[in-house]
Symmetry: C2
Subunit: 248 residues, 2 copies
Amino acid sequence: MDDKAIHRLLRKFSCLQNGDRRTLDALLTSSRAMPVRATLLREGDRVENIHVIETGWAMRYKTLPDGGRQILNFLLPGDIFGLFGSLFEHSEFGVETLTALQTSTFPFAQMLEAFHESPRLALALTWLAGQDERQLDEQITRIGRRSAGERMAHLFMELHHRLSDAGIGGDAARHFPLTQSVLADSLGMSHVHANRSFRPLVRNGLVALHNNGIVLLDPAALAELAEFDASYLEEVEVPVKAQRAFPD
Amino acid sequence: MDDKAIHRLLRKFSCLQNGDRRTLDALLTSSRAMPVRATLLREGDRVENIHVIETGWAMRYKTLPDGGRQILNFLLPGDIFGLFGSLFEHSEFGVETLTALQTSTFPFAQMLEAFHESPRLALALTWLAGQDERQLDEQITRIGRRSAGERMAHLFMELHHRLSDAGIGGDAARHFPLTQSVLADSLGMSHVHANRSFRPLVRNGLVALHNNGIVLLDPAALAELAEFDASYLEEVEVPVKAQRAFPD
DNA sequence: CGGCCCATTGAAAAATTTCAAAGCTTGTGG
DNA sequence: CCACAAGCTTTGAAATTTTTCAATGGGCCG
């Protein structure tokens, strides 16, 4: 029951019951494996399905007229994309894998049917959408108002937390399959500057390069450097009012 | 029936029917007037209600440890905020008025009841949430990958389009109650640099200062300068699949 | 071995911030 | 009606940050 990452993300949404989880599992039957650097969704394409990342990393991005790329956010195990897709004619963003990964996909209509069966599940996915929005807000703030070094440390801390929340522990929660160009495109800087912001972190032993990826060595120091406040990722209390809405 | 701005925003969501609109109107009975520079929601506060802007402007923002401020987005007539609020313990953002304004507020539970009565309305508000997310994505891209002048022109075009979509036409759609400091905090730059990016636009007759606000004079030139592509704001086609979901 | 992708560096150019000061406009109270 | 206070805009100049251009080195794969 709890073997899928999305269940672990929903652990904090405590009003979910076993029946709801089964309903969710029923959506996640069509699993697909993709290689690294594969396109899951092209910008401009019609969004046919909702996707849940089972394992692996992906990124959601936009391309600019001059060929530049802005990464909007990273998709980790348990994350969903395309939730709103069927409400629009085409996608404004693209999605590409950063590692080999597995996704479950299901059509919008099927989700609506599942909501009929379990309104609490609808609320749970809405809650995930709300989390997403908080993360986008933080991405805006990170890019708009922090220095290059802080931006980088801050992103690392977010990813670390999110991996833990997805039930990925130990070393795996400290290894990010990101190149410095990818970092640059996420943090709104040139790849050269990304490198120059990254080096000092290595020099001080906060992070290291492993094979084509980044290893987080000293989360505490990174958190302090970034003035990282995880409250936008954490929900300690159960949303009581929301629970009352579906007493069951 | 169509006197409220939110109805005009939903005009493009064409599967909505009169009964749904009435259900929505029933939510919008508690109207409140606020002065300029008033706090509608403090960072960290519990979000009690959902708010719909009837008239006027507001901004949604986050404050940083060093006192800096990042404006996440602007709220115009018809816009909603707090939709996800009841699902979390506290708000990660604040909301302040930029003009005197009127809002309608209603509790989360009341919205869920309304959804029971009109599932199509639930879909409509989900659609608005999807629009919001697209706008946040574009804000990230604007800040992350555009030059200062482009950022500014791009934001002006977005606001112009959104005002039109909200049914605000003529001169009113070209007047923005924004100071250069507010612009700076939205676009992720210092107020001095905001000024130096703004002057050339004035010199070339693209915009002008009016009383404490900005007047858009040459949208076409601004759009070209910003390489503005409005597709993220426009939905031409009705979302057919979504419509089929609620045949009435 | 050759090609490709990624990381790294130096140096000059360009963009942006910071600091400090001054000018304007508007609303208020005398 | 005038003076003043407050908030917003504008400017100059120096300091910093960031980009751009160009080139080099390392590692992995076919």
